[in-house]
Symmetry: C2
């Protein structure tokens, strides 16, 4: 289908020798005393037919592509989409381009996509690791390829990473609900062994311990369709009658809010882990643990580019604070708190 | 920084000849009667050190990479993020990988990113064209590279494209507001010469003509920060006192809803072009012109893969219908409509 244009085609089309074309394309026109007129004619023609001679070969030689591969969980999740956007802008301003793809949190896909980037010889990697990609990540490290993980890390693997303080974020959310007088604070989370989900559970449990409450936990599958999650959540609400719900991700919170709307359920106090640009437009506005996505994107790019420049040697591990943004959904009317 | 592993390194590390390693890596171990034990040892070692010999060279030879380059306007816009996600899944199931990047609607960036994909020898292109990229698109066509445009097209350029019927969508939205008894129906749109924005304006104007109303149009800059848009919109609402507002994109609608909330303004009837997963959770729920993103993604992949397979020759141009989803925000109380 694709007709590959060769130097010989260009030479033939313009009625000059292959050697002359080659000299011009390799910046040797002056050295070889080729006229400016002919040089311009060749370069114009090359641009017109879209001939690009040596980029792949050049990147094979130099090993530099000025491209960073970004492997994220799901581009349709606003948390990842917004981070991707910021990383792209910051990289661009420093002369790097980003190419990205989503793993859908499936290990096979993640492994294959990292390999795809590797085949394209990207200069560095920014990755949200799925479960099961440990070997692939170790292999990148083994080959001394610049790499930063984010959102979660691989326990026991000494890699660069940028995460937020998930334990503290989840603790703050749960403690805030307890301070509002809530006594049956449920957590809705995923079946997941990933560090960020484990840490959010730990933060919730720590607050439950300190406030001497009972835990009510509901786990759902990441890959369940949304209506299943909505129906499961409704059944959980009716069974357990929580007076507050802490959602471990914003898409779980959105499914929960849809369940409340769809089945016209009473509104418990609500906090979502991860903010969403529209939460402050809801009625009630939604309280959220907000991750500092601007700072996350900056740290990721800085660590990676420092490593690319050879400025950074040892693993650099950054944990950023998240912030509880209190809105209407978690503020409980004081009438029932008593004294 | 990156230490490139060569075949000679592998041979040296394992104490065998370069030729032997080369035979094994080129699937000639059996033919050359190399033992299974040694073959396994080499392949295991190659995997361990992450040596990938020939992918780039192979793609130079065959001209096939099984990669599609997706160039979109802004990955943090849910419309594009969701389409990207669907395209990725559909391409994946047919053996293709997607790499993508956002242009931020800046011509220079778009041109450069398309060139970047071209340098990486992607097999095909899916592009939302920014203004000013006509020459670049023509150059791709000239080189007979498989290409489909979407969301908008380049007038006068005979390319593959997939769009929705923007004239009809905007007409339906405006006519619906007129039928609700609204008499001062404003349109909030962008400064833009792109076809999709031009067509939405045409659809709005056609409904204004048919219902014999007066147009009230407010234009904003795509690159203005959100607070500027919010403040501009507030001033426009206070000046013009529209009883209904048709927003030409969902991010304009979101800015408008933020203005109403932030300044506690009276709620006009509202319709947004482009739905949003959270619009049905708002109070009131938001009426939207919904584009068929699943069908758009299917058409894009089908057209591109047919072209890659040589099944499709001439330009294929698809226009899909959009659907007006009526929710609470556009339903006007009947008390003021009279008889």
């Amino acid at each position: 289908m694709k007709k590959k244009i060769l130097i010989s085609d260009i030479a033939k089309d313009l009625g000059i020798s292959v050697t002359t074309v080659s000299f011009i394309l390799n910046d040797k026109a002056k050295e070889k005393r080729i006229s400016e007129g002919l040089t311009k004619r060749v370069l114009d023609y090359v641009q017109k037919v879209g001939y690009k001679p040596n980029e792949l070969a050049k990147s094979l030689r130099t090993g530099k592509t000025k491209i960073i591969g970004l492997v994220i969980e799901d581009i349709s999740n606003p948390f990842f989409a917004n981070i991707a956007r910021l990383i792209e802008a910051k990289a661009y301003s420093r002369g790097y381009r980003i190419i990205y793809c989503s793993t859908d949190n499936q290990p096979d896909k993640a492994i294959e996509l990292i390999q795809l980037f590797r085949d394209r010889h990207v200069d560095g990697y920014i990755v949200t690791p799925s479960e099961g990609v440990r070997d692939t990540i170790e292999s990148l490290q083994h080959s001394q390829l610049p790499l930063v993980l984010f959102d979660r890390y691989i326990p026991g693997l000494d890699s660069n990473h940028v995460i937020t303080d998930n334990v503290r974020g989840a603790y703050d959310a749960t403690a805030h609900l307890a301070q509002q007088g809530c006594r049956r604070i449920a957590m809705i989370t995923l079946y997941s062994a990933q560090t960020q989900m484990r840490d959010r559970m730990n933060g919730y449990m720590r607050a439950i311990d300190i406030y001497k409450l009972q835990p009510y936990v509901k786990k759902v599958n990441l890959h369940d369709d949304e209506q299943t999650v909505i129906d499961d959540f409704r059944a959980f609400l009716e069974d357990q009658q929580p007076d507050a719900v802490f959602f471990a991700t914003n898409y779980l919170a959105i499914a929960g809010l849809k369940a409340i709307k769809q089945y016209n359920l009473p509104f418990p106090a609500v906090v979502s882990y991860d903010d969403h640009t529209l939460f402050k437009l809801f009625t009630p506005t939604i309280t959220a643990v907000s991750q500092p996505i601007e700072a996350i994107a900056s740290e990721l790019i800085n660590i990676l580019l420092n490593q690319l420049d050879g400025k950074e040697k040892g693993p650099k591990q950054v944990m950023l604070p998240s912030e509880l943004i209190i809105r209407e959904s978690s503020l409980v009317q004081t009438s029932s708190t008593g004294s």
